[in-house]
Amino acid sequence: MKIAVCVSHVPDTASKINIASNGKNIDQSGITYIINPYDEFAIEEALKTKEKHGGETVAISLGSDANKETLRKALAMGIDNAVLLKDDKYRDSLSVAKALAEEIKSQNAELVFFGKQSVDFDNSVVGQLTSELLGYNCISVVVSFSLDGNKIICEREIEGGKEVVETTLPAIITAQKGLNEPRYASLKGIMAAKKKEILEKPALEAENFVEVISMKKPPSKQAGRIIGNDVSAVPELVKILHEEAKVI
C-alpha cells in the first residue's frame, strides 16, 4: 500500500507576526520556518501504519524551495520518498488541494495523512477539499486511528467529546494533536535524508477563487488595571466583575 503524507512549511508559532508594506503578506524579517506542528502527527501515523501493514511512504509539499527543509525533516523521521510541487505564488486552499490531489493520484496513494490545519492560515480545510476532489473518504481532526484490512476506525474530536467514525480505504485522515507522539529523527535518519533526492515538479496550475484584499494586525488592547498585590484585592476584583463588567 502506498501511504502519502502532505506537509506544509510554516512560521514558528513563537514568531511575532508583522504585516509587510504591501498590506497583503506577512513581513518575513526575523521569521523562522518549521514543519507545521500538526504534520508531525500525520508523519508519525504514516510511519506507524507502514510498520504495521507494510507499504511505501511519500511526503508531498507544495511551495518554494524553502519547503525542502520540511520535506527533509519528513525523510529524516523515516518517510521513504519526497515530492516538492513547486510554486511561489499565492494559492487559495482549493487551488492547493487540486495540485495535491493530482500528485496523490499519480502516486496511486490509497491512504493519505494531513495535519488537521496549517498554523499559518488556519484554514483546516485542505485535507477535506482534497478528499472530495479524489472521491476518497475523509475523517478530520482525528485523535485515534486504526486500520484493519480495508476498514478504518477513527476517533475525531468534537465539542465536548469524541465521535467514533468508521469508513474504508481509500481515505484521507487529518491529524489532531493527541493522535500519537511523533518520533525524533535519529542521527542516522538525518544523515540519510541529506543524501536522498527530492523529486521536484511544477505544481498543477489552478484558478484562485479567493482573493486577498488586505492583511492587518488585530486591534491592540490597552494594558489593563492591576487591582492589587495580595489577597486584599480579591473582593475588589469580584465586585468589578459582578457590578461593572456584569460577567459573573
Binding site: T13, A14, S15, K16, I19, I26, P37, S93, L94, A97, V119, F121, D122, S124, V125, V126, L129, E132, N137, C138, V141, E155, E157, I158, E159, G160, G161, E163, V164, V165, E166, T167, T168, K177, G178, N208, F209, V210, V212, S214, M215, K216, P218, A223, G224, R225, I226, G228, N229, D230, V231, A233, V234, P235, L237, V238, I240, L241, A245, V247
Partner: protein, 320 residues
C-alpha cells in the same frame, strides 16, 4: 436574485446555539444583498425547528431520517443536491467540528471559494468581504470570494444572534431514503457534564504556575462555580497535566469567551493568540512583568495559591 442558505446544526434533536448566529447573519446578509434566504437542517426529530423564524428565516427544510441524527457522508451528498436543485449562491455554516468538516467538502463539490472561521462579514458594492483570523489571531485577513457560488463558515460565539422575535418559520419536511453511508459515526463519546472550552462563555485556565496536576482541582472548582470550562496552557498539556482538548492557543483552541481567567499563565505569544479576543481577561500571576498583564483587563500580581481560595470564597458569596 441571490439565494442564501443557512445550515442549521442539531445535536440530540436540539438546535445548536451557534446555528442561531448563522440564521441571523444569513438574514442580515440577505437584507444587504437584496437576496432571499432560507435554512436547511438534517436530523430526525428536531425540537422547535420553527424557532429559526425568530432570527429572520421564514422557511426551513428538514431532511428527515434516523440515519441523519449523527453526522455522516450522507450530509454532503444530500446538501450538494439540495443546493444544486434550488440554485443557492451563498451557503453559511457555523465553524463547529461538523461545519469545519462539511463546508470545505461542499465547496470542493461546487468548485467554489470558501471563507472559513470568519469573524466578520461586510457587504460593500454587493460583494461580501469576510474577515478571518490567521496565525491564530496574530493577524486578520480580509478576503473576497470571486466564484459564482460562495461558502462561508462563522466562528461560534462571535456573531450576535440578538434577541429572537415571535415569528415562526415554515417547516418543510422531506423524508429521505438512505442506504448505509461510506463514512459514518458509530458512537458519540461525551465528556460527561463538561463544557467544551470552544463553546464556553467563561473559561478558567491554568498554566505552569499551578505547579502540578493535583492543583487543578481548584481551577475545576472555580470553573464549575461559574458554569464555565477549564482551559490549559500548552506547557501543562505537554507536561501531561491536562488533556489536549483543553489547550488554548495556537496549537490548541482559539477561544473568545465573555470572561477568561489566566491563572499562573505567563502569556506566551502562542497562548495570547488563542485567547486575546475574549471580552474580559483576568490574570493572576506573581511575576509583575509577565506578558499576560499586557493583554489582561484586570490583574492581581500575587501568588495564585494565595489568591485562588479567596477568589472562590468571594464568588461563592455573590452566587448565594
Amino acid at each position: 436574485m441571490t439565494k442564501i442558505l443557512a445550515f442549521i446544526e442539531q445535536r440530540n434533536g436540539q438546535i445548536k446555539k451557534s446555528s442561531f448566529e448563522v440564521a441571523k447573519t444569513a438574514f442580515d446578509l440577505s437584507n444587504k444583498l437584496n437576496a432571499s434566504v432560507e435554512a436547511i437542517c438534517f436530523g430526525n426529530e428536531i425540537n422547535n425547528l420553527e424557532s429559526v423564524g425568530g432570527y429572520g428565516i421564514s422557511k426551513v427544510t428538514l431532511l428527515k431520517n434516523p440515519l441523519l441524527e449523527n453526522y455522516s457522508s450522507h450530509y454532503l451528498s444530500l446538501l450538494v443536491d439540495f443546493i444544486n436543485q434550488n440554485n443557492f449562491d451563498v451557503i453559511v455554516f457555523s465553524a463547529t467540528s461538523l461545519g469545519k468538516d462539511l463546508s470545505p467538502k461542499v465547496s470542493a463539490k461546487l468548485n467554489c471559494g470558501l471563507a472559513i472561521d470568519c469573524i466578520d462579514l461586510q457587504v460593500t458594492d454587493d460583494s461580501i468581504i469576510a474577515t478571518r483570523p490567521i496565525y491564530a489571531g496574530k493577524a486578520l485577513l480580509d478576503i473576497k470570494i470571486n466564484s459564482p457560488k460562495k461558502v462561508f463558515s462563522l466562528r461560534p460565539n462571535v456573531f450576535n444572534a440578538g434577541i429572537p422575535n415571535e415569528n415562526k418559520a415554515e417547516v418543510n419536511i422531506l423524508n429521505v431514503e438512505l442506504d448505509s453511508p461510506k463514512v459514518k459515526v458509530i458512537e458519540v463519546k461525551k465528556s460527561e457534564g463538561k463544557i467544551d472550552v470552544a463553546e464556553a462563555d467563561i473559561i478558567v485556565s491554568g498554566g505552569r504556575g499551578m505547579k502540578g496536576p493535583e492543583n487543578f482541582k481548584m481551577i475545576e472548582e472555580l470553573a464549575e462555580l461559574l458554569g464555565g470550562a477549564v482551559g490549559a496552557s500548552r506547557a501543562v498539556v505537554d507536561a501531561g497535566w491536562r488533556p489536549h482538548s483543553e489547550q488554548v492557543g495556537q496549537t490548541g483552541k482559539t477561544v473568545s469567551p465573555t470572561l477568561y481567567f489566566a491563572l499562573g499563565i505567563s502569556g506566551a505569544i502562542q497562548h495570547l493568540a488563542g485567547m486575546r479576543s475574549s471580552k474580559y481577561i483576568v490574570a493572576i500571576n506573581k511575576d509583575k512583568d509577565a506578558p499576560i498583564f499586557q493583554t489582561a483587563d484586570y490583574g492581581i500580581v500575587a501568588d495564585v495559591f494565595e489568591i485562588l481560595p479567596a477568589l472562590i470564597e468571594e464568588i461563592k458569596k455573590i452566587k448565594q
